[in-house]
């Protein structure tokens, strides 16, 4: 016992000593008295992690961080206007590389972080980048060939299928492992308990509003073998939303929404859908995994403890976990770039990111997932979210420079798929959208090698899924 205790004390001393040595190179108070301006999205992770950590950061470094937090659409516009105006008062910005990353990179608005990463006076020796970062996350950092290292990806949010464990069990429904089983489950779990012709519980709930659908639809599109774009034999990037496989996917997702979702899904935004799910009105809900925090909160949800998440079931084209990660970057025009980097480096340290991980914010650091202190909200959440973070790709939006118009074009096809459902009508809408998207690529991406999604990556992920069949093991593995 005594020897064990001695070993423990020694190990702890060595560990603490190592941490101390590693961090000793960075003088965290070197920019004491500075104030940084940061522009962030509204999300659950702001109050769960960013705000409390900003206070701790100020305490440890003497640097104050003024956070402006607005809804994603608003803060993106504000960031764009400030960057276009070369406003030096914006220091740190949050962004999704699969959304505006290409545009901001092409315009050169983001600072190259490579010199800061290699500067021992600014980056802790044990920072371990990219070694400690999950593969899927790292994959989403670069969107244009030859891109500088202009962002640090930190959040591994994934689009996953939230399912009601209790309903699957009560109605003896198999947890879906393919698209056919998913539709069968949605059908069986659309339940009209009192027989008034109006279901009390809907089988499937997901985004049904125009451009917003691209994020929740992406895995369905790629799993069916479709994609937003493809490269022709001569290397030209063209839209692929009108291929047979893509139209299959539009038809399938449109049918799920039309027949098994409440009609309000067509106008709902994610918060309203999440509220419906938390109120117990749906058996399955396709959305980002951080919404699990709402449905699992006994104070705000009627289904706390009854829900978990799984990957979107495999389709004829494979399994493509949709990983719309979030990055943090420094404005090229900031006058406090070193202090800004110190903030980023401090926030993305192992032990700080672990705190976020334990607050149910899925992090990009591998060590945060494997740390003994980490406990997943549910086993299903842990395995599915980790898998998505490891193997996922950024397919939530049609990857292009003119991202807004691309999302609107794809959203118009989805509107037809949901409201009409007629194959010929969907094909016609997809043909029209594809023509528009291809022309837009030619107009906005000439001379630019925008990476897009690589088919080989898809094959790797399919293999990854087969090696780790999360959903296939059924409910037992999901913690029931």
């Amino acid at each position: 016992m005594g020897r064990k205790l001695n070993s423990l004390v020694l190990a702890t001393t060595v560990a603490v000593g190592m941490t101390g040595t590693a961090s000793a190179d960075v003088n965290w108070r070197q920019f004491e008295g500075s104030t940084l301006n940061a522009a962030y999205f509204t999300a659950n992770y702001i109050d769960a992690w960013w705000r409390p950590m900003a206070k701790q950061f100020q305490k440890e470094t003497g640097i104050k961080v003024k956070m402006q937090v607005l809804q994603a659409g608003q803060i993106r516009k504000k960031q764009d206007i400030m960057l276009a105006g070369k406003d030096s008062t914006l220091d740190v910005l949050m962004l999704q590389m699969d959304n505006r990353g290409g545009k901001l990179t092409a315009a050169g608005h983001l600072e190259d972080l490579a010199p800061y990463l290699s500067d021992a006076s600014l980056t802790p020796a044990d920072y371990d980048y990219p070694g400690d970062w999950l593969g899927g996350c790292i994959n989403t950092e670069r969107v244009i060939k030859g891109q500088s290292h202009n962002n640090i990806v930190w959040s591994a949010q994934a689009q996953l299928l939230h399912i009601r464990k209790d309903l699957f069990k009560k109605y003896n429904v198999k947890v879906p492992t393919n698209m056919a089983e998913l539709e069968a489950a949605a059908k069986k779990l659309t339940i009209d308990e009192n027989g008034d012709g109006k279901p009390e519980i809907y089988g499937f709930l997901s985004r049904g509003w125009g451009r917003l659908t691209t994020a929740s639809f992406a895995s369905y599109l790629f799993n069916h073998g479709g994609s937003w774009f493809k490269t022709t034999a001569d290397g030209t990037k063209v839209s692929n939303v009108n291929s047979k496989e893509s139209v299959d996917a539009f038809e399938f997702y449109g049918r799920l929404i039309r027949e098994y979702a409440p009609k309000s899904a067509l106008s709902n935004k994610p918060p309203q859908n999440a509220a419906l799910y938390a109120a117990g009105k749906a058996a399955m809900h396709q959305e980002l995994n951080f919404w699990h925090g709402l449905s699992d909160n006994p104070k705000k949800s009627r289904i706390a403890g009854k829900s978990t998440v799984i990957l979107v079931p495999e389709g004829p084209g494979g399994s493509f976990p949709n990983l719309p990660t979030t990055s943090i970057a420094i404005s090229k025009y900031s006058e406090k770039k070193k202090a800004a980097w110190l903030y980023i480096a401090w926030m993305t340290q192992k032990h700080i990111m672990l705190k976020g991980q334990n607050a149910a914010v899925p992090m990009c650091r591998r060590s945060a997932w494997s740390d003994p202190s980490y406990k997943a909200p549910t086993p299903g959440w842990g395995s599915s979210a980790k898998h998505a973070a490891d193997y996922g790709i950024a397919i939530a939006k049609p990857q292009a420079i003119a991202i807004g118009q691309m999302r609107d074009a794809a959203g118009e096809v989805m509107n037809i798929a949901i409201r009409n459902g007629d194959r010929a009508a969907i094909q016609a809408a997809a043909d029209k959208a594809a023509k528009f998207m291809t022309a837009l690529v030619a107009k906005t991406e000439t001379g630019m090698d925008f990476r897009g999604v690589m088919p080989s990556l898809g094959k790797r992920m399919k293999a990854g899924i087969q090696q780790e069949p999360i959903a296939a093991d059924g409910l037992d593995k999901l913690g029931q």
């Binding site: 764009d80 545009k103 315009a107 409440p262 106008s267 118009e412």
Partner: protein
């Protein structure tokens, strides 16, 4: 000593300045107004006109080229813009028309004496005082297909629920309804002030001559109210064409762009797609539309009507 000092003022720089101001009083007093107008109106307008003739994109093309009137022409090759123009007038005509009919009816009602009039009038005016986004959030709940009060009411009387903001055919009428609810009190206010300022002699003469209520309304009230009606219609039409916040909050121009108006189309072009040049050109077209509406309504006001 005092005399010397005052002499210095009388003949010094201060005196000359006062004399100069006296001589150029009209110019000096107008300087603040001119600066204000130039800074807040003329300069932005000039900037919009300049921007509209460039291919400026916020992020991707910060150093734009001059393209002349290209953006003004290409605007009319965009089917969404053409639809947006139609949607704008569809909304403005039906919304303002509805507001006028209801506003006139309520103004006539509140122009009469009845018990509790002050209370009812105050209640009637309340929507006008509410913020657009706040009422939009409430109407989103009203319009909810499954749980909204409107569909619950319809189902209660055996009518099929309506896909208010979901169905492209119903979305614009739903917004028109919100517009009528929100802005009719303003119409009532202007028309009521008009009714209360009318001379009573023509009404008495008409009654003595045996005119019916309808005849009095058509041939006495309406002609006398012409100036007030014109003001109300001009103001509400301009605001109706410019309506933005309720559209963005309730339907976000959807579904399938069925509620995209000119204003929203300009917003999407400028801030979603970041084509600043094209958006500015559309903004100028939008200005001309508003100007045309004003000119038409002012002409109607000036016209000599025969009854």
């Amino acid at each position: 000593m005092a005399t010397t000092k005052s002499l210095k003022v009388e003949h010094g720089v201060g005196r000359r300045l006062i004399d100069w101001v006296d001589r150029h009083m009209t110019v000096v007093f107008n300087i603040p107004t001119v600066v204000f107008l130039f800074g807040l109106v003329a300069f932005p307008v000039a900037l919009v006109l300049l921007t509209s003739m460039t291919d400026w994109q916020l992020i991707l093309n910060p150093d734009p080229d001059f393209v002349g009137f290209k953006n003004y022409i290409t605007a009319w090759q965009d089917p969404r813009w053409i639809n947006a123009v139609g949607h704008t007038f569809y909304y403005a005509i039906l919304s303002v028309g509805g507001q006028f009919v209801l506003g006139m009816a309520t103004a006539l009602l509140f122009n009469r004496s009845f018990a509790g009039k002050a209370f009812y009038r105050s209640v009637w005016m309340m929507p006008m005082l509410s913020m657009s986004v706040a009422i939009s959030l409430v109407w989103i709940l009203f319009y909810d297909y499954a749980y909204g009060i409107l569909n619950l009411g319809l189902e209660g009387i055996g009518i099929e629920p309506v896909e208010w903001t979901i169905d492209p055919n119903w979305a614009m009428p739903s917004l028109i309804l919100v517009g009528i609810w929100h802005h009719t009190p303003f119409m009532t206010l202007i028309l009521l002030s008009g009714l209360q300022s009318l001379p009573q002699d023509p009404f008495e003469a008409a009654r003595i001559d045996g005119a019916s209520r309808w005849q009095i309304f058509m041939h006495v009230t309406l002609p006398l109210m012409r100036a007030h009606i014109a003001v109300a219609l001009i103001l509400r039409s301009i605001f109706g064409v410019k309506e933005f916040d309720t559209f963005l909050a309730i339907t976000d121009a959807g579904p399938m762009w069925a509620t995209e108006t000119m204003n929203l189309n300009i917003y999407f072009n400028a801030f979603e797609y970041q084509y600043m040049g094209e958006a500015a050109a559309k903004g100028v077209w939008f200005f001309f539309f508003i100007l045309a509406i004003q000119l038409v309504l002012l002409q109607l006001r000036k016209r000599k009507w025969s009854y």
